[in-house]
Symmetry: D2
Subunit: 283 residues, 4 copies
């Protein structure tokens, strides 16, 4: 038995749930979880995630996919299939601060993030004992304004074929639109503020200057526009006048860890659909 | 067009989602929301809520129900159907403290709780200006240890036929197992603690004595055992050493309001299933 | 015995706490709560709130104030004294939506907001049964772009002498810099977003369009710049893709109530100091 | 210049704040933070934390302490002085699960927990790569019901003189009243539930069985009675019917980390006073 997930989106239409579930039933599959969301009863957008198990000896994956393609075409849907046993390959980029990286690696090793990690890339070569122990290949790709183009080309050559998505675990370089376009797969970033507040540099300093009473962290997909991509997860905590920018930063690290690992978990369990500049996150 | 909700629960079995969605499709219905939960892939319990619109001219409700009964029998399911346009009738009981009542009535009047309120019952006759304005019939049913039996009999005669469920909005009388049994419909209670902590009387005092750093409120269905029924909603907030039992009570009132109105909303939108001593709350 | 609060702010200097507490002790006062905050050990800003009881027969208020003025001058402090028994007079303005108003009035009547409310003002004359019961004078001051100047002049003539601060409980008019300047006392506003995100009109719509996963409400003092004044309180809650702008609005109402009444409570208990564009809120 | 903290508790009495702050001023000290709490204006209990810097060349620590002892006696206070530069020595005990340990060590290495860690003790000798890198001595002290007495004796001989407090970072052995008594210094435990709910074994299983909608973790001081000591910190998060006991455990790990490191931070910065079975935590 194998477990798979269909992610489906299209204009809403009568009968899609019936057709999809009947399809699975026809191939002897059993639905484990099924979640569906329609933005609007009239003329809305339809989103569906269905997780099911099936016997690949009874119906080969290839056949399942071909048949589903025909069905999906009948209601003009975009769709993906993911097989739970085939883990996504996640490339990690970070700069100096390693709190997100450390949390990702610890959870990964504890079996709580179902991904493969082919390598870790940094534009700094600081020692990271806590990383070394995991025996994951490490690439040091320094970057300056002059070398940025070359560095991104090298980066692309490393990640393009070997990863299914990238995670920017406090990678303090803005990726160019060109890179994002060439990579053409999901890139998850953690921004250390409650977006859309405090885009750009030094968000804790900005938050402190504004005198907010709640701070946050935001995990989102990267698009060409800085800190503007679809939000996957946000986490917040209260602060008081006693907390200066440094204290907010310390408290915020925990929020960044939580937002980013939750986003990675959702993405790697095929729970996220993107539509316009938003996400549907099925729990 | 009419909107209806099926709530279904049974042992898990291959094909239920397909059959239910195919059933709706066959009668020209359109699924608006569908949510399904299985406790365990192997040998688990299956729960489903499906909200759909259909044309009662095309298929009369009675026919829909009869046909569905046959289908449901085929997989041995318990099921209910609710028509969104037919609002549940909610009887409210309270004693002296009116903060939950006030919040319910305000939200109800603002169109945010889709129920009918045939009357309000109290064992106290304090003036409640804020209630009077809503022009809802008020019954004063005083109770003492000697009169409890009679009072409950009178209560039952009022609520038995005229309500679909009861809400105890800080009703400080323990209903007898006999009453609960005779009424035989859902009763939602708000307990002013984070259950199972601090059952019984004076939970804020208990919380203060124990020195907790977080307080809560719990909305739950009533069973024969005090404060032990299935939990629908819990809401919490932080407290510090500066807050004594009175300050906790003040902060807790807001938590009680939120928990209770959320629970009423979930129940009246047919989002709650009960299984053993727990609830499945579909959002 | 009377209870009073000193609020003090100045450049930090050795010995201020000692001098203030010695001053109170000298006049037979007893400190109930004392809270002090310094922004920075070196060259910082000093803030202090001290609540104490004293016997006005032993030392008349006037004398206490004259003597404290001399002390405060010695360390160049700005200071205020408030006598707990003399409640602040709070003028309330609102437009159509009454959820904040209803919550304020209920809490006020329950003895949880220690203010006097001389009147309620609205630019709409919708019926508000829930308000009527409180028997608070109501002023209807309609406003259009042509009449704005006159309306503000009338508003000012009503509130200038009769109130100590104003609360904008969803008052959907932007007060002019001139009015704010002429009134020259604190004005608390509730903005229905997590500032600085989503300033201006329709913040829930903006939040929905941006696809945030957490929404909020912000109570802040008004300055000349729209939605830019010092933040007193922020409250947040999670949302999902299932919640559209209307659902966010419904959930947000509760957040607005909580933020605004907490801010009013803090202000009316003399717990808030302003410095630059921030607040120090002593709990 | 040195920084120190006074922690003071006694029956409330007029003039204590004045005397303490005047004392510091007399010795040329400057108060950085001062926080005071009185349980009750009449006949209450007084608690104070005052952090100040002073010049030990001007007044030697020994002299400061001797003089303060005389002052404290005059109002019958219990008191402690802590010098910020002298870090507390924290012994860590854990069993198999290392998520709390990993978080403590990471934060400690990042300079966010100002303690010394003389050693780590476990009753299991599983490999813990993430620990090894920190080069902290590790003691393996296996324990069975027969050897418990001896193991505790050995434990005591290791920790008694070399630590100022102990942290049970998921140490799954119940320490005997005798050990607690002989050690006679603070012991902080993390319990993986929202106490007083779900004491004892398998709290996530208990929480799942009870069907709660919010789970929590509690950091508390240990007393002779299991899971009954004074609570320092509690952290909570929402759960739904979709989360089984394992999912709750995974989510709970983060809560345990947050509660425990916050409690260690508060304790090691001398922010916690104990009174009866509660804590005063100055922030």
């Amino acid at each position: 038995m194998e477990t798979a997930v269909f992610l489906i989106q299209c204009r809403d239409k009568r009968g899609i749930v019936a057709k999809v579930s009947e399809f699975i039933f026809r191939y002897n599959g059993n639905i484990i979880h099924s979640d569906q969301h329609t933005t609007d009863p009239e003329n809305g957008q339809f989103f569906m995630r269905v997780e099911f198990c099936f016997d690949p000896e009874f119906v080969p994956c290839r056949h399942l996919e071909d048949e589903f393609a025909i069905l999906a075409k009948s209601f003009n849907a975009q769709w993906q299939i993911h097989y739970t046993a085939r883990r996504l390959r996640m490339g990690i980029l970070f700069s100096k601060q390693d709190h997100c990286l450390v949390d990702i690696l610890y959870q990964w090793k504890s079996g709580e993030l179902m991904v493969d990690i082919p390598f870790i890339i940094s534009n700094h070569d600081s020692l990271h004992d806590c990383v070394d122990q995991y025996k994951i290949p490490f690439h040091y790709l320094p970057v300056s304004s002059e070398t940025k183009k070359n560095q991104e080309r090298e980066l692309l050559s490393i990640v393009k074929e070997s990863t299914d998505f990238l995670v920017l675990a406090r990678y303090m370089q803005v990726l160019t639109a060109e890179f994002i376009n060439d990579y053409n797969k999901p890139i998850i970033n953690i921004h250390h503020s409650f977006l859309p507040s405090f885009k750009g540099a030094n968000p804790y300093r900005q938050a402190y200057e504004r005198g907010v009473k709640v701070i946050g962290a935001t995990a989102h997909y990267i698009t060409g526009e800085l800190d503007e991509g679809p939000i996957i997860e946000q986490t917040v905590d209260r602060v008081t006048h006693k907390e200066n920018a440094d204290a907010m930063m310390r408290k915020g690290k925990k929020l960044e860890q939580i937002s980013l690992t939750n986003a990675i978990r959702a993405h790697s369990e095929f729970r996220v659909l993107r539509f316009e500049n938003k996400t549907i996150v099925f729990n």
